[in-house]
Symmetry: C2
Subunit: 197 residues, 2 copies
């Protein structure tokens, strides 16, 4: 089955849009999705940014909120910008890696995105993450312990390094097996088509 | 007839994609297009940028070339990045304002975009602009004299100020009569739909 890698960051607003629809689109396209959490922080830092571009460039930030508001409404999703923005998605990303090993990854990822961007909750809070773990069918206590394992921490660092090496500079991004890179929720359909080539 | 304002900058690669298809889409949608050239330079400078973000952030620049290459191929367009990039579109923008008063504006705009991004020519060169003026049906000498008129220079400054006041931070952008702002060629269809609301 053709594969498309979905690079996402929990702080990323546009990644929320993709996470909520990628499974349905992938099934229709006959493409398998490889969910790949990574961190934008180190990539932004390498570009000289100490925050989200939506904070550094206020006109862009204001536009993003309206743009996603329009898209979310059209797709039947809620959207609000959490406070503070961007959220710290480190623990959520490590937990997602555990979930991707154990089978509850995608459900957890979607739950965390909903918590942050639909409900405006702080996704760095253990209580918020514990709720989403249980909703996704995981044992919260076990998952949180496993998320501290050295191989999980290393996996997230490696994903972030791989993203940078693949030329990724934002999220969501999508890469095909042939090495085609697509950036942004609005390129998801095109990325699926290219993964069939 | 509902109206959509098309904000474009001649140095902008994604504006090229929109300029080549906006007329056909607008006719189908029953929307009138107001062509509005402006300059990104002062807007980028206000954000602390002294060049195109595609130069300042090389990963983004490399991606843009591939992304537009894919889009252009799918639409039957040629695309190459001119040298140097970004081009200086000041004179082309003033000429476009003359053309929008005299009726040959859209043809000239498309010709300049093709010269820069399909043929890789330097659109700051008078000879290149003169050719595109004649192809668009204008008298090149007269148009170039008129482009130096104070009201034309002032109009371009005013457009750029209006863009900034409207929250525009990149090109292409689209604004509806109700004040909705859309950024990027991939929002053109959505902008047309919203201009009918």
């Amino acid at each position: 089955m053709p594969k498309l890698t979905f690079w996402f960051e929990f702080a990323s607003t546009y990644s929320y849009l993709s996470a909520m629809r990628i499974e349905e689109l992938a099934v229709k396209a006959g493409v398998e999705i490889a969910w790949k959490p990574f961190l934008l922080g180190p990539i932004f830092k390498a570009q000289g940014w100490d925050s989200s571009p939506f904070n550094l460039y206020p006109a862009k930030g204001k536009y993003m909120v309206r743009d996603i508001g329009r898209m979310a409404e059209a797709r039947g999703l809620q959207f609000r910008l959490p406070e503070p923005f961007p959220q710290n998605g480190l623990h959520a990303a490590r937990l997602a890696l555990v979930g991707l090993e154990e089978g509850w990854g995608p459900e957890f990822v979607k739950g965390v995105y909903r918590a942050g961007f639909a409900d405006g909750r702080d996704i760095s809070e253990p209580a918020v993450l514990a709720t989403e773990l249980e909703v996704a069918g995981a044992n919260a206590e076990n998952a949180m312990a496993r998320a501290q394992a050295p191989h999980i921490k290393e996996k997230l660092r490696a994903n972030t390094g791989e993203a940078q090496a693949a030329g990724i500079f934002g999220a969501p991004s999508f890469t095909t097996s042939a090495g085609e890179l697509f950036w942004g929720d609005d390129r998801l359909e095109q990325a699926l088509v290219w993964s069939l080539r």
